[in-house]
């Protein structure tokens, strides 16, 4: 275990006693026990006003999202996530190669059902994700503000843009076929029709900087076109992604369609790029010096590849490039009647 909890956890409230931070019951019991004692003592004793413990913050255990479940990393590793100033926020699981392998298995298992679902249903589910995201907007805004170091107002704006992005892609599910395919003119007595179909399992390295808007901007187009995803979060800013998993889990999205791994893209990228059961790779979050090796590994199995634009502006209109990146074109020749 190369990375462990820091010795001190600045995130814990100073008034909580050591060892009780994760256990809300202990202080509660103490408080209940203390009440009758104070009443019996009456006013004569006039004890010093005991510090009344406020509601204890239950520290959240962030976990991976694999096949619709929330497991810890198979390796048992975690790493400390800090905010932009270096203050400890939480421990996130540090996913291993085996977690990536399990995620691919889950994504492959989910693929027939998700790619076979009607475009209309996929759109409804993506829209529902936006609804669920909106109802937890404040939580996401707080996490984005902590992760990216932006003001609360700016974070709220980013969350609103994220919701817009989901809705925008939700609308594309039943339109991309018309844009990406069509009837082709051919010299012969045939109808010739091309339709785009989902590629399969897409491994996505999420952008390192934009923890929520960037994440959704790379994930939503993969889902909208009927692919399933194995997503590696931003290494320094994984928390909004791990919270997004809770939204996905309650949005009718079938288990395994999205699998979210927090960890080091330098560790998880190579096994995913070389994995024979991964059909496409989005290199957005890869470090520039690693991207080339990942491309070479991906070429061995003829994966589709999305090369990132280094200056991609997540707030600008996304266009169709990402929707088109993970599609296969099926062309059918059909004889015309004489």
């Amino acid at each position: 275990m190369p990375e462990t909890k820091p010795e001190t956890q600045p995130g814990t409230k100073p008034e909580t006693k050591p060892g009780t931070a994760r256990n809300g019951k202990a202080p509660g019991k103490a408080a209940r026990a203390a009440k009758p004692a104070r009443a019996a003592a009456g006013e004569a004793a006039a004890p010093a006003p005991a510090a009344v413990p406020g509601p204890l913050a239950v520290l959240k255990t962030y976990k991976l999202y694999l096949g619709g479940a929330f497991p810890r990393s198979e390796s048992g590793r975690t790493y400390a996530v800090t905010d932009h100033t270096g203050r400890w926020l939480a421990n996130a699981p540090l996913a291993s190669r085996k977690d990536a392998r399990d995620a691919v298995v889950a994504a492959r298992r989910a693929f027939p059902r998700w790619s076979g679902a009607t475009a209309y249903l996929r759109g409804q589910i993506l829209y529902r994700i936006a609804e669920m995201l909106q109802s937890r907007g404040e939580q996401f805004a707080a996490e984005v503000a902590a992760a990216e170091g932006v003001t609360t107002e700016e974070a709220a704006r980013l969350v609103a843009a994220t919701i817009d992005r989901w809705v925008w892609y939700a609308g594309w599910t039943d339109k991309i076929t018309q844009i990406g395919g069509g009837a082709n003119p051919v010299a012969g007595p045939y109808f010739n029709l091309s339709t785009p179909e989902p590629t399969g399992v897409v491994a996505v390295l999420a952008p390192r900087d934009s923890a929520l808007l960037g994440l959704v901007s790379v994930l939503a187009p993969v889902l909208a076109t009927g692919n399933t995803a194995v997503l590696v979060t931003s290494h320094p800013r994984p928390l909004p992604a791990l919270t997004l998993a809770e939204v996905l889990a309650t949005s009718d999205l079938p288990a395994g369609v999205v699998n979210i791994l927090s960890g080091d893209p330098a560790e998880l990228g190579p096994p995913l790029a070389a994995h024979q059961d991964v059909n496409a790779l989005d290199l957005t979050g890869a470090a520039p010096d690693e991207a080339r090796d990942l491309e070479v590994a991906a070429a061995h199995t003829l994966k589709r590849l999305h090369r990132p634009d280094p200056d991609e502006d997540w707030q600008a209109a996304p266009g169709l490039a990402r929707l088109r990146s993970f599609l296969e074109t099926k062309t059918v020749w059909h004889p015309k009647g004489i």
């Binding site: 392998r101 691919v104 492959r108 096994p271 070389a274 994995h275 024979q276 059961d277 991964v278 590994a297 061995h300």
Partner: protein
């Protein structure tokens, strides 16, 4: 361990069988399961894993026992058993191909000269509910068609009703009908209810002349488990010590991943030792397991994970 002198012979009465089988030591169910689970936690990595995967491949009875089996499907399976990985001749061949009696001829023809044996289920597989004459005809037909191994099912109804003599005589009769072919006796452990019954059925089969004892048909809810396989291994070990005759074990049904297969090999090695760690004495009855073993083998050799697109669909 039972004393050799007390074994009921072929002429023994049902009461004598009952006295003997119920005199076998009882099975500590919790202890058995814990032991099997503990052995399943052994970490087998790198070169040991490579050895285990190749050993497991060489022990597979590649099985297709469906109502929809066609000669074409059997031929495809035979090709796969003879050369599991067409692009890599270092992959060992499977031990046998296991089919229904009417397809034995097809399999024998497809496997001629490959060294892969043809096994056939017989005796009204999987239920075993047929008159003895029908079972004997079934068996003789399979042997005549060229099956080198016969997988018979015991009459669980008679066994559970306590008619041990009938079960014994049936196995002995089939043994005779097999001639030179190896006889594997399927105990169908999932229907025997208790571990004590599994131990009794195993001893009954071994005394009746089984060359192999096999856990299950693969057609019921509970098939091979590490615990019931461990129990069979303990029984064949005791039987060898008591009689000097070695009996093989076949775990069948529900073994789908390499990890599971390696666990069974650990059970064999730790219980009965390397003497059983060959295809002659231990088999894995499976169909989808082979693909997973091939994918794991690929991972071990190249370092990258394989996928189902790179192995045959049965």
């Amino acid at each position: 361990m039972p004393d050799t002198a007390t074994f009921p012979g072929p002429g023994a009465s049902n009461a004598a069988w009952r006295a003997f089988l119920h005199g076998l030591p009882g099975v500590d169910a919790v202890g058995l399961q814990e032991r099997a689970a503990r052995l399943g936690t052994r970490s087998i990595k790198e070169s040991a894993k490579g050895f285990a995967i190749d050993t497991a491949i060489s022990m597979i009875d590649l099985t297709t026992l469906e109502g929809a089996d066609t000669p074409g499907r059997v031929r495809a399976l035979c090709a796969k058993a003879a050369g599991p990985e067409p692009t890599d001749r270092s992959v060992p061949r499977a031990a046998a191909v296991c089919v229904y009696p009417d397809l034995v001829g097809t399999a024998v023809e497809a496997l001629r000269g490959t060294g892969v044996a043809v096994a056939s289920v017989a005796t009204a597989f999987p239920s075993g509910r047929a008159p003895l004459e029908a079972k004997l005809v079934d068996t003789r037909a399979a042997v005549a068609a060229g099956a080198a191994e016969i997988d018979m099912v015991i009459d669980r109804g008679a066994f559970l009703a306590g008619d041990y003599l009938a079960v014994f005589e049936e196995i002995a009769a089939i043994r005779e009908a097999c001639g030179d072919a190896h006889l594997k006796v399927i105990l169908e452990t999932g229907e025997l209810v208790t571990y004590d019954n599994i131990r009794r059925a195993c001893w009954l089969a071994m005394l009746a002349g089984a060359d192999f004892v096999k856990t299950s048909t693969g057609k019921v809810a509970v098939n091979a488990t590490p615990a019931n396989t461990l129990l069979l291994l303990l029984a064949v070990r005791d039987f060898l010590a008591a009689t000097g005759r070695q009996v093989g074990v076949k775990a069948a049904g529900g073994i789908r991943t390499s990890k599971d297969a390696v666990k069974y090999l650990v059970l064999v090695n730790e219980t009965v030792g390397p003497a059983w760690l060959t295809p002659r004495w231990f088999r894995l009855g499976a169909s989808s397991l082979l693909n997973d073993l091939l994918m794991q083998r690929h991972k071990l050799r190249t370092g990258s994970y394989s996928g189902p697109d790179y192995v045959t669909v049965d």
